[in-house]
């Protein structure tokens, strides 16, 4: 669905979206909590000129919504009712959005499959057996299903752009600091971005206009003026320089993905784009995942030290303070999360920090320096967003240290390390399953990136693609 489908309609359609979300639950299991729509439209005072007039929106469950349960798909927050709104919640409301649901995610954002959610696996709308991808899987699935035209996610290591690829929707992660993170339950602060899912580039541009901007509550947000992304969109590719990340394409074993990607390149070239291969140092590309793993787990273990059962969240019994904390955190976090915390904590020990955490931060700089150098000669870098279509749960771990896994499945980390804007755009349907490409642009060049994405969208004919429409 598109935002315009709702702007032109009436509030009834918002109520319907809520019903559709409930109806989808059995198929997708994408929702953690449903929002009270009646309450939100009771005194609805917006006009057509508001960018998200009458638009139903789904929020990832790590976005604080005052009065509405927010669990980040973790047991420890199962009863947490925020007493404040994330900045973006206020911005969306001010633009006319009506919240439909809080969506499932990998617990605390820690995962790429959405299998590690307290409420269980989120099913891929195009093949329920397959995964949605994560960590913003619930949001991706609801947009792909056609329940909402816009869903908000967060992206720490491709957590918007990967599920977007698996579910066949647009997934945008703008520049770090472009959208306030205030009120987003973090994963790893230096890598976390707010992102969004839509079915069209235009809607992504509109949503970005609503969400972007300086927020004094988030000292890392930028003062750069917010552009009128949606009206600045133009899909002219004449002379645009597109660098294809050769390391990624070489690492992909899936022939169909290779093929669809090449077909896209031909189309873009025929529209006047200049397409060249870009080759990164192999060792740097192989270091993407380890760098991410170290930095994200270290920051995460500190970020989630506030989850102790004392001031909020599920408190388990214990005889003393320590046992209360230990019991609450043991039962409150899944094994996967606890294991990652131990690894994160280990890498921060004084005796290990130089060897592990700081080493990873230094490698991060080398990677970003290399990216900056490559991007200097191009408008965007382009690669397949994933090495395969959405996998089945048991396939999704792959061989951890193979080139396919290290490079093809993790190259979108470049956008998190650098904070540069990046977007996933569906480019083909193979045997009923979507395949997508990913763009990476220079900081704050969202307008340019969206315009090139728009050209891809036009060439692939998947604008507005979702289950509701395709059936």
């Amino acid at each position: 669905m598109r935002i315009d489908d709702y702007k032109q309609g009436n509030l009834e359609k918002v109520v319907e979206a809520g019903e559709k979300a409930k109806a989808s639950q059995e198929r997708l299991n994408a929702v953690v909590s449903f929002c009270d729509i009646e309450e939100q439209i009771k005194d609805y005072k917006h006009t057509q000129s508001d960018l998200l007039f009458q638009t139903p929106v789904a929020l990832k469950d790590n976005i604080n919504t005052k009065g509405t349960r927010t669990t980040a798909s973790s047991r420890i927050l199962d009863n947490y009712i925020p007493v404040y709104n994330a900045t973006i919640v206020d911005k969306l409301k001010a633009a006319g959005a009506v919240f439909v649901a809080k969506t499932s995610m990998d617990e605390l954002g820690m995962g790429g499959t959405n299998l590690n959610a307290y409420t269980g696996k989120v099913n891929n709308p195009w093949d329920l057996q397959r995964i949605s991808g994560g960590s913003s899987g619930g949001s991706a699935a609801l947009v792909a299903e056609g329940v909402v035209p816009l869903a908000i996610g967060s992206d720490t290591g491709d957590s918007v752009r990967k599920p977007a690829a698996y579910c066949g929707v647009v997934g945008l992660k703008p520049t770090y600091g472009r959208i306030s993170r205030y009120g987003i339950i973090p994963y790893a602060s230096s890598l976390d971005h707010v992102g969004l899912f839509t079915t069209t580039i235009k809607d992504a541009a509109t949503a970005l206009e609503v969400l972007a901007g300086r927020d004094d509550n988030d000292m890392t947000t930028s003062y750069k003026p917010v552009e009128k992304y949606s009206s600045l969109l133009n899909s002219d590719l004449q002379g645009k320089r597109i660098g294809v990340i050769k390391n990624v394409m070489d690492a992909i074993e899936d022939k169909t993905i290779q093929e669809t990607f090449k077909q896209l390149l031909d189309k873009l070239e025929s529209r006047g784009a200049i397409i060249e291969d870009v080759v990164f140092d192999t060792d740097l590309m192989n270091a993407l995942l380890p760098t991410y793993y170290v930095i994200s787990n270290a920051e995460a273990t500190a970020n989630h030290s506030n989850l102790d059962g004392i001031r909020f969240g599920v408190r388990e019994d214990g005889d003393d303070l320590t046992s209360i904390m230990i019991n609450s955190r043991t039962k409150g976090f899944s094994s996967e999360v606890r294991k990652r915390f131990v690894i994160g904590s280990y890498s921060l020990f004084t005796e290990n920090q130089d060897k592990i955490f700081r080493k990873a931060q230094k490698v991060r700089r080398r990677i970003v320096d290399a990216l900056k150098e490559k991007l200097a000669s191009y408008d965007v870098l382009l690669a397949s967003a994933a090495g395969s279509i959405a996998p089945y749960p048991d396939e999704s771990y792959g061989e951890k240290l193979s080139a396919t896994y290290l490079v093809a499945e993790n190259h979108m980390l470049l956008g998190n390390f650098s904070g540069y804007p990046s977007i996933t755009v569906p480019n083909a349907i193979v045997d009923g399953m979507p395949v997508a490409v990913n763009l990476l642009a220079k900081p704050f060049e969202e307008t340019l990136m969206l315009s090139i994405a728009k050209a891809i969208e036009e060439e692939c004919g998947l604008e507005g693609y979702c289950r509701e429409v395709s059936e």
Binding site: G183, P186, M219, T220, A302, L321
Partner: protein, 474 residues
């Protein structure tokens, strides 16, 4: 064997800002529990810190006063540990780049002045308050997130007296800067002392004890003296000192073990990713420094070198900022610096003690005290009369009005005084005789008689002059 005592001090000082270090909730004392917080102070999921400008300003003032190098790039780090009073599970502090370093201050010791080096000054946030009841510990998060600065010395002090002098000095400076209430008993200034003993001549530090949370300056001295004695005895009897954290038991007058330290706790410090480094522009820093009031030492210097006070009096005045402020106001209205100091340390202080109030709670108007002092010097009133006038000045009255109302105004009209003089001379022929015989003190007697007759109102200088003139005529 003799031991050298090595003492270093860490002072935590709560800053007197309107809002918290990283949130816009109010800093407040004695408010109802949990009414001065927002989601940031409670460590709610998803919150982010936002640095308080006033806390930075206050820190710059302290850095300047303690002659520290100021780091113009403000950076914060996380100190990770778990405790019920620490909402986020980490404290945001400045481990790697403190705002101030390499400072020093001068203290007065029995052996004269001594420099205590300041290792660092950094900003951080306070924890919640815990109240221990029979049925559990109660947590009040009002204090959580209150801005703190920590001032850490080098191990430069050698005995309890020096340590107490240092803390007193820091307290006074912080108070003069107006950055803190510095109330040790209420915890707005908290003091941790590290003590170790080592054989003279040794250059390695012995195992140290840390005495936590000393709540008064006298306890700083007492606790240290007790601890030195204790360590001394242990070492002399061949024992060893365990690295430990102690507290001072005021009633038992001894230090008590809180916990032994088993290696240092690893706080896993790392840079706070949610606060980008903040550049303090040069004019931002310099405007804060330019607007700084004089510090106690500067005032003392002025008192001694410009006003001619002695060291003791000058110190007595600057030891109390309000008294010093009051003195400064008095001496903008009179040039009688020493007399003003005498009055303030004498009558004024005695009055304040008697009433048990501070100078800023009294009704004395500094300008009026200055006027009274000038009247004394001009001999418009006598010292004795001044004491009477002062009794009214403390009620907030004006000096001239009191003098008038009490009929103390001196008569300076020569004709009026001449009448008194003639009357007195007529009544005292013997004195005239004495004068003619060269006995000059007869004049003094006659002046006294005129004063008596005029009820003290005759201007003594004029009276003296007229008596001499009249005597010559007779």
């Amino acid at each position: 064997m003799n031991f050298e005592v090595i003492i270093g001090i860490e002072i935590h000082c709560e800053l007197k800002t309107k809002t918290k270090m990283f949130s816009s909730a109010p800093v407040s004392f004695a408010a109802k529990p949990n009414t001065c917080t927002n989601e940031i102070d409670l460590g709610m999921p998803g919150t982010l810190p936002c640095v308080n400008q006033e806390a930075v300003r206050s820190s710059i003032k302290v850095c300047h006063a303690l002659e520290c190098e100021i780091d113009p790039l403000v950076r914060f780090d996380r100190k990770n540990y778990y405790y019920s009073d620490l909402p986020k599970g980490f404290q945001i502090t400045q481990q790697f780049f403190p705002i101030g370093k390499n400072g020093e201050i001068m203290i007065n010791t029995d052996d004269g002045e001594k420099i205590i080096r300041i290792n660092r000054i950094h900003m951080e946030e306070d924890t919640a308050k815990q109240f221990h009841h029979d049925d559990g510990s109660y947590l009040d998060f009002n204090r959580a997130g209150t801005p703190l600065i920590e001032i850490v010395t080098e191990p430069d002090m050698r005995n309890g007296k020096e340590a107490a002098a240092y803390v007193e000095k820091i307290r006074n400076i912080l108070y003069y800067l107006g950055v803190s209430d510095v109330k040790m008993e209420e915890g707005s200034l908290r003091c941790d002392v590290n003590i170790s003993l080592r054989p003279y001549g040794s250059d390695t530090l012995g195992a140290k004890s840390e005495i936590k949370n000393l709540n008064s300056i006298s306890n700083v001295q007492k606790a240290i003296e007790y601890e030195i004695d204790r360590q001394n005895k242990v070492l002399l009897s061949g024992g060893t000192i365990d690295q430990a954290t102690l507290r001072y038991d005021e009633t038992a007058r001894k230090t008590v073990l809180m916990r032994k330290k088993e290696g240092d706790v690893d706080y896993k410090y790392f840079p706070e990713p949610n606060i980008f480094p903040i550049r303090l522009k040069e004019d931002f820093i310099s405007s804060i420094i330019e607007q700084l009031d004089e510090l106690p030492d500067q005032r003392k210097h002025t008192y001694i070198h410009s006003y001619g006070l002695n060291e003791y009096d000058a110190q007595q005045i600057v030891a109390n900022k309000e008294l010093s402020d009051f003195y400064n106001k008095v001496v903008t209205n009179t040039k009688e610096y020493k007399l003003a100091a005498n009055w303030i340390l004498g009558e004024v202080s005695a009055f304040l003690n008697k009433e048990n109030i501070a100078i800023d709670q009294s009704s004395i108007i500094p300008e009026e005290l200055a006027i009274m002092i000038d009247m004394i010097v001009k001999k418009e009133i006598s010292g004795k009369q001044a004491k009477e006038v002062f009794e009214e000045i403390v009620l907030g009255k004006k000096a001239k009005e009191v003098v008038k109302a009490k009929g103390m105004e001196q008569v300076s009209d020569e004709n009026a005084i001449l009448d008194f003089v003639i009357n007195v001379l007529d009544a005292n022929p013997q004195s005239i005789e004495d004068y003619k015989n060269g006995k000059d003190r007869a004049v003094g007697f006659l002046v006294g008689q005129v004063m008596k007759l005029s009820k003290g109102q005759a201007n003594p200088a004029i009276t003296n002059k007229l008596i001499v003139e009249e005597l010559k005529k007779r």
